[in-house]
C-alpha cells in the first residue's frame, strides 16, 4: 500500500512538472496577455490590477538596464509610472560586465526587452539591426543636442543618449589641505605625483593615504582597463588629428608610458599594497567616504554617493605627463544610449516611447532620475531639470574656461570583455612584480591585443 501511494505521489510530481512546463509554453504563445500578467506581478501590483492590465492591450515596457548603481532608483521610478498610468514597467539590471551576455539571452526570449542599451560603435554593428529607427520620433524631438546620437552605416538613428558622464580623479580637498597641499598647486603629473607621494610617505602620521584601493577584480578593474586607459586612446586620437568614428585596426601605443605614470602612481601610493589587488575585496568608495584617502579614481555617477560624507569633493583630470596637460579637462562622454527593440510589438514600442518621454519631461520623474542616488546626473533633453551633480558642473566649468575635453575613445574597444580580461591579467602580473618584462606584457595586451580583437571582431 505504502509503495502505491509513493508511486502516486511521484506521478503527481511529474504531472505538476509538466503542467508548469506547459504554463511557460502558454505564456510564450499567449503573447501580450501573458506578458502583461507576468509583468504586473513583477511590478508588485495586487491581483486585481494585474488582471485588469491583462485585459487592456496597451503594451508594456521592459527595460534592460545597463547601470547597476541605478537599479534601486529605476525600480522606484518604474513603480511610480505604473501607479500613475497602469502601464507595467519591468526593469531588469545586468550585473557589471555582463550586459552583453544578458542582452543576448534576453533578446531570444518571447518577451525581449523593449528598451535596451546600444552604447557604442561596435554595439551598433552587433545590435543595430534590432533597433527601431528613432529619427523624428517623440523622444528624439525632446533631445537638446545631437551630440549623443548613434547612427548605423545606412544613417538609421539606432540609439540616443540618455545621460552623459565624466570621469577623472575625485579629490577630498579638505584632506588634501590637511596634508599641507593645495588643489591649485596640482596642475600636471609632476605636481600630482609630488603631492601623492608626500601624502603616502606620511600616511601613518596623517591617518590617511593618497589613493584609495585599486582592486583588479571585476567590480573595480574597469576603472583602469576601461577608463584610465582612455588617456592613451585619447592622446593617440589627438596626435592622429581626428576623432575615431570606428574602431581603428591598430594602435601605436605611443602614450602607454603616460598610462604607466598614472597607474603606477595610483597603485604605489594607495591604502592597499599593489600585491594584494588581484582578487579584490576592498571597498574603495567606503575608504573615500571615511576619509581614509585623498584621491579616488572614479566618475561623476559617484557624486550623490560621496558628497554627503565628503562635501569638499571635486574632480581633477587624469594627469599623466603629457605636454600641455595643464589645460586638460575631464573625460566626458556617454555609453548610455537608449534603443527601442524593433522586434517588439507596436503596442510595446509605443508604451516604451511614452515611458521615455515621460522620464525626460515629467518634472518629478526627471528630478528623481537625474539627481537621485545612483541617478543619471545629467540628461541631454530640453525639459530635463538642472543637474545638481557637482562633478558634471565642474566639468562644464573646465570646458568653459578653455580646457580640452577628453572624449570617450574607450567606447571603441573591440570585443571589450575579452580585451579587458587579458589586460587585467597582464596588470595583475605587473602588480605582483613590476618588472620591465611584465610591463611589456601589459603593453602587448593593451596595444597588440587591440589589433587582435579588432581583427577577430570583424570575422
Amino acid at each position: 500500500m505504502k509503495r502505491k501511494w509513493l508511486a502516486l505521489a511521484l506521478a503527481a510530481v511529474m504531472l505538476l512538472g509538466l503542467l508548469a512546463g506547459c504554463g511557460g509554453g502558454g505564456n510564450n504563445a499567449g503573447g501580450n496577455g501573458g506578458n502583461n500578467q507576468q509583468q504586473g506581478d513583477n511590478t508588485g501590483n495586487d491581483g486585481n490590477d494585474g488582471g485588469n492590465q491583462g485585459s487592456e492591450a496597451k503594451g508594456s515596457v521592459y527595460w534592460l538596464n545597463f547601470k547597476p548603481e541605478a537599479d534601486e532608483l529605476l525600480q522606484e521610478i518604474a513603480q511610480m509610472y505604473t501607479d500613475k498610468t497602469g502601464v507595467p514597467v519591468k526593469v531588469t539590471t545586468a550585473a557589471s560586465g555582463t550586459y552583453e551576455s544578458t542582452l543576448t539571452s534576453e533578446m531570444d526570449k518571447s518577451a525581449p526587452p523593449t528598451l535596451f542599451v546600444i552604447g557604442n560603435a561596435p554595439a551598433v554593428k552587433t545590435w543595430g539591426d534590432y533597433a527601431l529607427d528613432l529619427t523624428g520620433t517623440d523622444i528624439a524631438n525632446e533631445l537638446n543636442s545631437d551630440a549623443y546620437n548613434l547612427y548605423d552605416a545606412d544613417g538609421k538613428l539606432v540609439s540616443i543618449g540618455y545621460c552623459y558622464e565624466c570621469y577623472g580623479i575625485i579629490v577630498n580637498v579638505d584632506l588634501l589641505e590637511q596634508a599641507g597641499h593645495k588643489l591649485d598647486e596640482i596642475k600636471n603629473f609632476e605636481t600630482l605625483k609630488a603631492a601623492a607621494e608626500d601624502i603616502h610617505a606620511r600616511a601613518a602620521e596623517l591617518g590617511f593615504d593618497a589613493f584609495t584601493s585599486n582592486d583588479m577584480d571585476d567590480s573595480s578593474s574597469w576603472r583602469y582597463t576601461g577608463h584610465m586607459i582612455n588617456l592613451e586612446y585619447y592622446y593617440e586620437e589627438q596626435a592622429a588629428g581626428s576623432k575615431w568614428s570606428d574602431t581603428p585596426d591598430t594602435l601605436t601605443g605611443a602614450y602607454m608610458d603616460n598610462f604607466k605614470n598614472l597607474y603606477d602612481l595610483c597603485v604605489n601610493n594607495s591604502t592597499v599594497a599593489r600585491t594584494e589587488l588581484a582578487t579584490g575585496g576592498h571597498d574603495a568608495q567606503a575608504e573615500f567616504k571615511d576619509g581614509k584617502a585623498v584621491f579616488y579614481v572614479q566618475g561623476s555617477w559617484e557624486y550623490a554617493a560621496v558628497i554627503d560624507s565628503v562635501p569638499s569633493a571635486t574632480m581633477i583630470p587624469y594627469y599623466c605627463g603629457v605636454e600641455g596637460e595643464e589645460n586638460a579637462g575631464l573625460n566626458c562622454g556617454s555609453e548610455n544610449y537608449w534603443a527601442i527593440n524593433a522586434m517588439a510589438s507596436e503596442d510595446d514600442q509605443k508604451a516604451t516611447m511614452d515611458f521615455m518621454v515621460w522620464l525626460v519631461t515629467d518634472p518629478e520623474a526627471n528630478e528623481l532620475i537625474t539627481n537621485g542616488v545612483g541617478g543619471f546626473g545629467a540628461m541631454p533633453y530640453k525639459s530635463a531639470v538642472a543637474s545638481t551633480n557637482g562633478f558634471l558642473s565642474h566639468a562644464a566649468e573646465l570646458t568653459d574656461s578653455g580646457h580640452y575635453v577628453m572624449d570617450w575613445a574607450t567606447n571603441f574597444q573591440p570585443n571589450v570583455n575579452e580585451y579587458r580580461a587579458a589586460f587585467v591579467s597582464a596588470l595583475n602580473q605587473y602588480n605582483a612584480d613590476p618588472s620591465d618584462a611584465n610591463w611589456q606584457a601589459v603593453v602587448t595586451a593593451a596595444i597588440d591585443g587591440w589589433a587582435t580583437q579588432a581583427a577577430a571582431a570583424k570575422g
Binding site: 506521478a11 600585491t275 595583475n428 602580473q429 591585443g449 571582431a457
Partner: protein, 301 residues
Amino acid sequence: MKRKKPSSGGGLRRPIQRWGWLFLGPVTAAFALGFVWPFLQGIYLSLCKFRIIKDAQFIGLDNYIAAFQDASFMHSFWYTALFAVVSLVLINVLAFTVAYFLTQGIRGSNLYRTVFFMPNLIGGIVLGYIWSMIFDGILSHYNTSILLETKYGFWGLIILMCWQQIGYMMIIYIAGLQAVPEEMLEAARIDGASKSQTLFKVTIPNVMPSITICTFLSLTNGFKLFDQNLALTAGQPFVIQPDGSSIKTTEMLALNIYNTFYGQNSASKGVAQAKAVIFFVLVAGLGLAQLAYTRKREVQQ
C-alpha cells in the same frame, strides 16, 4: 475462474496497456521538450552563423573547422583532461578512505558524515569566491595570488573540488560498504585473511557498483566543471602572446565555450555551439567507455 489465463497478472495488464500512455506521456513530453528538442536545435545551430537564435543562417561545417583550429580550445581540452584525471583519482581515493573509516563503527561517525557532506550543499560560484579569498589570504603573505600562477590555479581548483565532492562520493561509498554481506566478511576472517586482503579481495570487488557510479560522476563532473572555474580564476593568469592574443592558462572546456559564445562577434557564437557539440560527444564517449570498463569488474552477489 476458468477465464483466468496461465500467465500471471493478466487481470492487471489490460488496464496498463490501455492507460500506459498516461504514465509514459508526461515523461516523454518533458524529456522531448526539455532535452531532445534543445539538443537537436543546438546541433543545428552549430552549423549556423547567428546573433540571436531566431535569425540563424546555415553555413555548414565551417564552425567545426574553426573550433578545431582554435588554439585556446585545444589548450583548454588538455588542461581539462589533466584536471579530470587528477581530480578523479584524488576524490575517489579520499572519499573511499573516509567512507571506509566511517563504517568501522567509530564514535560520532554520523556527525562526521554530516560535516563531510555539507560542502556539497554550497553553490559553485559561492565556493569559488570563498576559496579565492582563502587562498589569497595565504598566498598574499608570499606576495603572490592564485591569479598569478597556473599551478596555484590548478591545485586550488583541485582542492576546492575535493573539498566539495569528497563528501558526496563518501555517502555513495558508505552505502556500498554497508551492503557488503556480513557473512562474506566473517568467512574471510575465519579463513584468516588479513585486513588488507579483506579490503582488496572482498570489500572492493563488492563495492564495485559504487566505484562505477563515483568514477563516472567525478569524471563527468571534472569535464563539465564551470562555476568553480569561473569564480576561482576565470582563466587567469593569461599568457600574453607577442601577437597580442592570449592563452588563458586555467580555462577549462566549459568556460572556453562560454567565453567564445559571449566574447566575440556573431560568427563566434556558431563556433561556440560547435565546440559545445564536440564537448558533448567527448563527455558522452568518455563516460560510456569508463562505464563499460568498470562494469566488467563488478561482481554479482
